[in-house]
């Protein structure tokens, strides 16, 4: 039942949105039905609660976190749930008639029910984490409600401000409640509420308290976090009535009440909570007096009354808490009624501006009467409910000593009451009484019962509680107070007349002074507006207005789009962190004996360093640096040869040349030199980072090479031949022991080629297409495209190279070589044809689909690996055997070779795809078409007619 109650509004929230298809009545009916059902459910539970039993329901949700979907209904929850649903129902009725046809009603009621559900969740939660969820949900749903009239800038801003303040407070509350839960050892409220001593003794009590109070104060609009509330008045009036009388802002007060047993009673609690409440009460009441907007006045009065309540809970005595509970109820009734009344005035007279209103009583007698009663209750005039709780409050205040000053509370409380009288009367008098005006924006008249009915119900309660408090509210208030104070509050007999007490004199003083203030209102008003008091809203606006550009400056400052900055950060961090880590623990230099360097090695080293230095020094001359870098690759391959790594040497050599060809192809269309851009300090910085990185990596290499190694490699030596069927251990590792690496590696290569294809396939479109079309060569070009000697020589080289490739491929498993190198050799040989005979000639004759080569290469490798599964062995398990054929002799067949074919095909496909694409880009840029001949040579002496060389346009 309890779950049903809590979930009904949330689940039913969709109902209005769906029902709107059947009209506005259906829509409101759906929302009302949901609320009414929930109210009914609550009613069935109420007797049990009033009988002193707490209704609980719990299902585990996230046990690991201690977040359980635990609900409980105690008197406090009952009272709040009743207000939420009861007033909610009235609001729904009212809103049905209040909203105009243009307003999307379905959405409105959906938001409203969401909000209602969230509020219910707060008051029913028996788990603080669950409560937090609902808490934040109220912030979110109220954001939607306040911003409902999205076309209005005030509504948008008000919604955001409310969300910022209450949402932010909610985050603080999260912190506070988590601490509380951790002190208590559980996030279940019922457990926490039993841990008063532990909590108050904990060193974390104060931080928890501060965080929780931040949450409560923001939600309850306590000074100085109050400023969002008046701006939330941009919401439709039913929303304001709902949020600011009984629900949203009361959530903060609810929290104070809920946690009262464990948090209250300390010096810190009293000083913070009671003082904040008192200040808020007086300050907001003062502001309210000078608000000309009806809703503004009510908003500040709400803040003031919230201060009132906060102060009562802050005083920390059970009796004060009881008064607080009572006033929660009273305030909800008269304030909701007044908001709805303000809505009626706005609706009927077309304005909420007090300066433009007056004398409406005769035109709208029903509304006027309701306003009169509710307003007098707010003013604390007997025999209405507002009077009783105000009296009791003054009574409590009179006994409260603040920092050894007994006068502070009574005086300020009386002042608050005075101001309350003044603004309440102002509402009544300046709207309904005084001279009737003839310049109302709309001709005012009493609304239909749909609009005055709901406030009338509330006003009836105002009167009923006022006249028979013990009967109407007594049992509930006592029960709730008992729940709030953990039974510390003695039940009291609520009565209208308490006898002649100091509070009565304070009350009388308040009424007298209040009337006096109102009589001098015009003068005071001028003074007030002349004072130019700081407006919290403007401060907030300014903060937001500075925050945005400031954050932009920060982010733009960090994120300036420079690759080099990112790179310095990366490399610098790696170097710094790596060194720091190295130095933070022990290190012993190794003692492995080195290999004496031969003079040839020293010469090679000199060549390497020279070439490297030349690249760095002349890197701005791009072509030149490509010549120098060739030497670096050459020396490294030579080092691999010298250091027993023939496979590496072969691979490095062939990769090197393809890379250089690629770069040359790209350089054709790129600028030929790099401008000098970086300033000396920047070059110095980069140099320093570079040297540090070099020292780091080189030093690490040195440190490792000079210590002995105990590696898993022995296993490879022992098993390469017997288990892998090859004598070239490196190749066996590649295609067998670590075939999965190779599998990934060829995919990288293939995908790189695909990426290149995708990049260049569209080069003819858009900006790059226009650039290519406008491209002119930036070097002087010789007229000859395909020199004869070169063409002839490469034709002989091609078959030779293919033979070499076949050889390298076939021997790879046992000797240096393998599919990758073989593939590259073939690719280089074909490339030679491209260079010598030209793209068109060679491409026509190649007739290969590079994509399919890549695809089938990967597929062959994968299928070879999968083949093992057929035989029940793991993926990539190899097999090999030796066969013997007459004449041919013994030979070996290994699945690894099949895998290697896949590698070779992928390599050829990838390299050819990349180079073919790159060549085509240059084709696009080319304006002259090279002569197309059968033999591809520009000058072919074999042709009958002497060839006339093409003329060079560039000369």
């Amino acid at each position: 039942m309890l779950f049903l109650l809590a979930l009904l509004p949330l689940l039913g929230a969709l109902a209005p949105a769906l029902a709107i298809r059947f009209g506005r009545d259906a829509c409101a009916l759906a929302a009302g039905a949901v609320t009414l059902t929930a109210l009914g459910a609550l009613a069935t539970l109420a007797p049990e609660v009033m009988a002193g039993r707490t209704v609980t329901a719990s299902v585990p949700w996230i046990p690991a976190l201690g977040l359980n979907a635990s609900l409980f209904l105690d008197p406090l929850g009952l009272m709040f749930a009743g207000m939420i649903l009861g007033i909610g129902l009235l609001i729904i009725v009212y809103a049905r008639f209040y909203l105009s046809a243009a307003d999307p009603m379905g959405r409105f009621f959906t938001y409203l029910l969401l909000f209602q559900g969230a509020m219910l969740g707060i008051v029913l939660s028996d788990n603080v984490l669950l409560l937090l969820i609902f808490w934040e949900l109220t912030s979110l749903s109220s954001f939607l409600l306040i911003g409902f009239w999205r076309h209005s800038p005030e509504a948008r801003q008000g919604a955001r401000m409310a969300l910022a303040v209450t949402g932010g407070g909610g985050l603080a509350l999260i912190g506070g409640l988590l601490i509380l839960g951790n002190i208590a050892g559980s996030y279940d409220l019922t457990v926490i509420l039993q841990q008063r001593e532990a909590i108050q003794a904990s060193p974390l009590y104060l931080p928890a308290l501060l965080l929780i109070l931040l949450g409560c104060f923001t939600k309850s609009a306590q000074f100085p976090f109050h400023f969002w509330l008046p701006h939330a008045m941009a919401a439709p009036t039913p929303v304001s009535a709902y949020l600011h009388s009984a629900t949203m802002v009361k959530a903060g007060v609810f929290m104070l009440a809920r946690l009262w047993p464990v948090l209250a009673g300390t010096e810190a609690w009293f000083l913070i909570v009671a003082t904040t409440g008192l200040v808020t009460m007086v300050f907001a009441a003062c502001v309210a007096l000078f608000k000309d907007d009806l809703k503004g006045l009510l908003a500040y009065s709400t803040i003031s009354h919230l201060g009132f309540l906060t102060m009562l809970f802050g005083i920390g005595t059970p009796m004060a808490a009881l008064v607080g509970v009572f006033h929660i109820l009273n305030h909800a009734t008269f304030k909701a009624a007044l908001f709805l009344n303000a809505g009626i005035v706005d609706h009927e007279a077309g304005t909420r501006d007090l300066k433009r209103l007056g004398g409406l009583f005769g035109l709208m007698p029903i509304a006027g009467t309701l306003a009169l009663i509710a307003g007098l209750s707010m003013a604390g005039i007997p025999p209405l409910n507002g009077f009783i709780s105000k009296e009791m409050m003054l009574y409590e205040a009179a006994d409260t000593v603040w920092l050894n000053q007994p006068w502070v509370f009574p005086v300020l409380a009386t002042l608050g009451a005075t101001l309350s009288v003044a603004y309440s009367l102002r509402y009544i008098l300046h709207v309904y009484f005084g001279p009737r005006r003839d310049d109302y924006p709309k001709p005012p008249h009493d609304p239909g019962v749909g609009l005055w009915g709901p406030p009338a119900v509330l006003v009836a309660l105002v009167v009923a509680i006022g006249l028979a408090p013990a009967l109407v509210a007594g049992p509930l208030v006592n029960a709730v107070a008992g729940a709030v104070t953990n039974g510390a509050a003695e039940p009291v007999h609520l009565a209208l007349w308490h006898g002649v007490t100091p509070a009565l004199f304070m009350s009388l003083t308040a009424i007298g002074l209040g009337v006096a203030l109102l009589m001098n209102h015009r003068r005071l008003d001028r003074l007030w507006h002349g004072a130019g008091l700081p407006d919290a809203k403007r401060l907030f606006d300014r903060a937001v207005a500075t925050a945005e550009p400031a954050s932009r400056r920060l982010i733009d400052g960090i994120q300036n789009g420079s690759l080099q900055r990112a790179m310095v950060a990366l490399i610098g961090t790696a170097v710094a962190v790596g060194f720091a880590g190295f130095l933070s623990v022990a290190h012993t230099p190794g003692d492995r004996a080195g290999i004496p360097a031969s003079p040839a090695a020293v010469v090679a080293w000199i060549a390497l360093v020279t070439a490297t230095a030349m690249v760095v020094l002349t890197h701005r001359a791009r072509y030149l640096s490509l010549i120098y870098i060739g030497i670096v690759g050459l020396i490294i391959s030579m080092a691999f040869v010298h250091l027993s790594a023939p496979d590496l040497a072969l691979t490095q050599i062939s990769v090197e040349v393809v890379t250089i060809l690629l770069m040359l192809l790209a350089l054709n269309l790129l600028p030929k030199d790099t401008p000098r851009e970086s300033r000396p300090w920047r070059r110095f910085r980069d140099g320093a980072v570079a040297v540090a990185a070099g020292v780091g990596v080189g030093g690490a290499a040195w440190a490792v090479m000079t210590r002995p190694l105990d590696s898993i490699s022995d296993y490879f030596w022992e098993n390469a031949y017997s288990g892998g069927g090859g004598t070239n251990v490196v190749n066996v590792i590649l295609v067998d022991f670590r075939g999965f690496d190779t599998f990934g590696e060829i995919i990288v290569l293939g995908v790189a080629a695909l990426g290149i294809f995708a990049l260049l396939e569209t080069v003819g479109t858009g900006a790059s297409g226009r650039r290519l079309a406008a491209w002119t060569p930036d070097t002087v070009r010789s007229p000859e495209h395909h020199p004869m000697m070169l063409v002839v020589a490469t034709r002989l080289v091609l078959p030779l190279a293919v033979m070499v490739a076949l050889y390298i491929f076939l021997r790879g498993h046992n000797q240096p070589g393998g599919g990758f190198i073989a593939g590259l050799v073939v690719a280089v040989a074909i490339l030679m044809q491209f260079m010598a005979s030209g793209f068109t000639f060679a491409d026509q004759r190649l007739r290969a689909d590079h994509h399919s080569l890549i695809g089938s290469g990967v597929l062959i490798a994968a299928l070879t690996g999968l083949g093992a599964l057929v035989f029940g062995a793991p993926f990539l398990t190899s097999a090999f055997d030796y066969f013997s054929l007459p004449l041919i002799g013994e030979f070996e067949l290994a699945t690894a070779m099949l895998f290697d074919i896949g590698v070779a095909l992928t390599v050829i496909g990838a390299v050819m795809l990349a180079l073919a694409q790159l060549s085509q880009v240059a084709e696009r840029a080319e304006k002259e078409t090279p002569p197309e001949t059968e033999t591809a040579m520009d000058i072919d002496p074999g042709r009958p007619e002497p060839a006339t060389a093409p003329t060079e346009a560039g000369r």
Binding site: P63, A64, L65, L67, L132, I133, E136, G147, R150, H151, S152, R156, A159, A164, G167, L171, I174, L178, N182, E548, I555, I558, Q559, L563, R565, A566, L570, A574, V577, V585, A586, G696, V704, R707, L709, S711, I712, S713, D736, F737, D741, G744, E745, I747, A752, L754, G755, F757, A758, G766, H851, I854, G855, A862, L863, P874, F875, L876, T877, S878
Partner: protein, 513 residues
């Protein structure tokens, strides 16, 4: 390993590879077939990953010796709770993204979307499954090269410029990866992660300096993928510039970095590593906190919705890594939960932003009001939910995730910093999204005019996918109990590296032969 499970483990890798290759061979010019195959493959991957996760939830760590060469000599695939979870997350995300790409026609904007996508999945799955550090490098490269292709899919100047940054910085990152792997091999003589754990724990004191340097260099590499400040520079531009589907898929890419940090941090440099135990945590934590701040401030500073989405990824990585870097079992479970959440939430936001931008015509995703656009009501709802998810407000999983993290780190000495950072940045996020939503939806509602874009491909399909991802966030929250039970168990498994070592190397841990 049970044959069915081993078959599924292999299938998770080979299916994308074979389909990628087939896509090149046979389906290059057949879009319709490619699409069907891709979606079916993603769905199959979800099923496979789900089965593996179910199996892993039992708590055994499974090891699969590729090529029948036992660890540490051959390469092994290892399935434990964490890797299974990452597979499932990847598969679910991939399915959503693929459907989105198909219904909105993103896959037609450039070449080879489908093969690249499959290869991307191969790389991701490989990275999550491998038990070998160098093989992890290889699969990093596979997923990176595929991501380069996908990132640049469709091209255009902004994408190309961002692509250059992304590619180059990751190439340098790969170089650093090799420095780290190489150094570890040079000192310990092994590459298998379980064996590394054994060797590092048994390393003589004199070797520790080099191992520490290697560990931190690797951390920098993984932190680069995870976009930890100051290594985040590449992310905002790249993610904001690429197509929505790709950006959504990339929500998992940063998690690969996080995964690697978690895996190496708990296994190789875990409790048993003596003075090297958890040595990366103190370096990561401040960076993670700053990342959180920068990410959320970036959210606030953004000028476009896509930038917001990109920064939100940075911010969420900060939150996630804050929890990771305390290296406590009670914080790791929450961190893993947050991995699930932040991946799906980030993806959802990218898709929602794309839906909005497509309907706003010229205005696109600029954070300024424009004329009303079609489906703006619906999209405002989706945006609201996505924002809630990203920022971490209830009722979606982001809130649960943050609660879990706050609760999980409480025993750490640095808890105050983490709490303060997470809570304050959440507020910044709230403000940023409130402002954005208000401008895009509410302010625009005041501007009359014809909807800039009327007819649209995949009008409902795209919305359904984005909604589905958001529903997944809700489900993640609603099923918080079982999910956290799983993530907590995964965390417990991570903090019991001996079990991993035993599973990979046999009971006598690390003995040869």
């Amino acid at each position: 390993m049970n044959p069915a499970i081993s078959f599924l483990v292999v299938a998770a890798l080979i299916m994308p590879a074979v389909l990628g290759a087939l896509g090149l061979l046979a389906l290059r010019h057949r879009l319709a077939v490619s699409r069907m195959v891709s979606i079916a493959a993603c769905a199959a991957l979800v099923a496979i990953a789900a089965a593996l996760t179910l199996h892993a939830s039992g708590g055994t760590t499974e090891s699969y010796a590729l090529g029948n060469w036992r660890a540490p000599f051959g390469i092994v695939l290892v399935l434990d709770r964490l890797s299974a979870m990452m597979l499932l997350l990847t598969a679910v995300l991939a399915l959503a993204v693929m459907i989105y790409a198909v219904v909105t026609g993103i896959d037609r904007k450039g070449w080879h979307f489908h093969p690249l996508f499959q290869f991307q999945l191969l790389g991701l799955n490989g990275a999550f499954l491998t038990g070998d550090l160098f093989n992890l490098f290889v699969f990093f490269e596979v997923l990176l090269i595929a991501s380069y292709g996908l990132l640049l899919h469709g091209q255009g100047p902004a994408r190309l410029k961002a692509g250059v940054q992304y590619v180059v910085i990751n190439l340098v990152g790969s170089t650093l990866f090799l420095v780290g792997v190489g150094l570890l091999y040079g000192v310990t003589g092994t590459l298998n992660m379980a064996d590394l754990a054994v060797k590092v724990a048994a390393a003589p004191p004199g070797d520790q300096g080099l191992i520490a340097a290697a560990a931190l260099v690797l951390t920098v590499v993984f932190a680069l993928k995870a976009a930890l400040v100051p290594l985040h520079f590449w992310l905002p531009g790249a993610y904001a510039a690429t197509t929505a589907a790709v950006a959504a898929l990339f929500a998992i890419m940063t998690k690969v970095g996080a995964y690697s940090l978690i895996r190496t941090g708990t296994l190789i440099f875990g409790e048993d590593a003596g003075p090297l135990a958890f040595l990366t945590g103190p370096w990561m934590l401040p960076a993670a906190l700053i990342t959180t701040v920068i990410g959320f401030v970036g959210l606030f500073a953004a000028r476009r919705l896509r930038e917001m989405a990109a920064w939100s990824v940075v911010g969420s990585m900060g939150v996630l890594l804050s929890a990771v870097s305390v290296f406590r079992v009670e914080a790791m479970g929450p961190a893993l939960y947050y991995v699930l959440h932040s991946t799906l939430a980030g993806a959802a936001l990218f898709l929602v932003v794309d839906l909005i931008a497509k309907r706003r015509g010229e205005q696109g995703d600029a954070l300024e009001a424009g004329p009303r656009f079609c489906q703006s009501e619906l999209l405002s709802g989706l945006f609201f939910l996505a924002a809630i998810g990203i920022v971490g407000l209830p009722p979606l999983s982001g809130f649960i995730g943050k609660l879990l993290i706050l609760d999980g780190v409480r025993a750490a000495p640095e808890a105050g910093w983490i709490w303060g950072t997470i809570l304050i940045t959440t507020l910044i996020g709230v403000l940023a999204f409130a402002r954005a939503g208000s401008r895009i939806f509410w302010k625009s509602a005041a501007i009359e005019g014809e909807a800039p874009v009327r007819a649209l491909r995949g009008r409902t399909g795209g919305v359904v996918v984005a909604g589905g991802l958001l529903a997944a966030l809700a489900a993640l929250a609603a099923l918080g109990g079982p999910v956290t039970a799983y993530t907590d168990a995964a965390a417990a498994q991570l903090f019991d590296p001996q079990q991993y070592v035993d599973a990979v190397l046999g009971e006598n841990g690390g003995g040869r032969r």
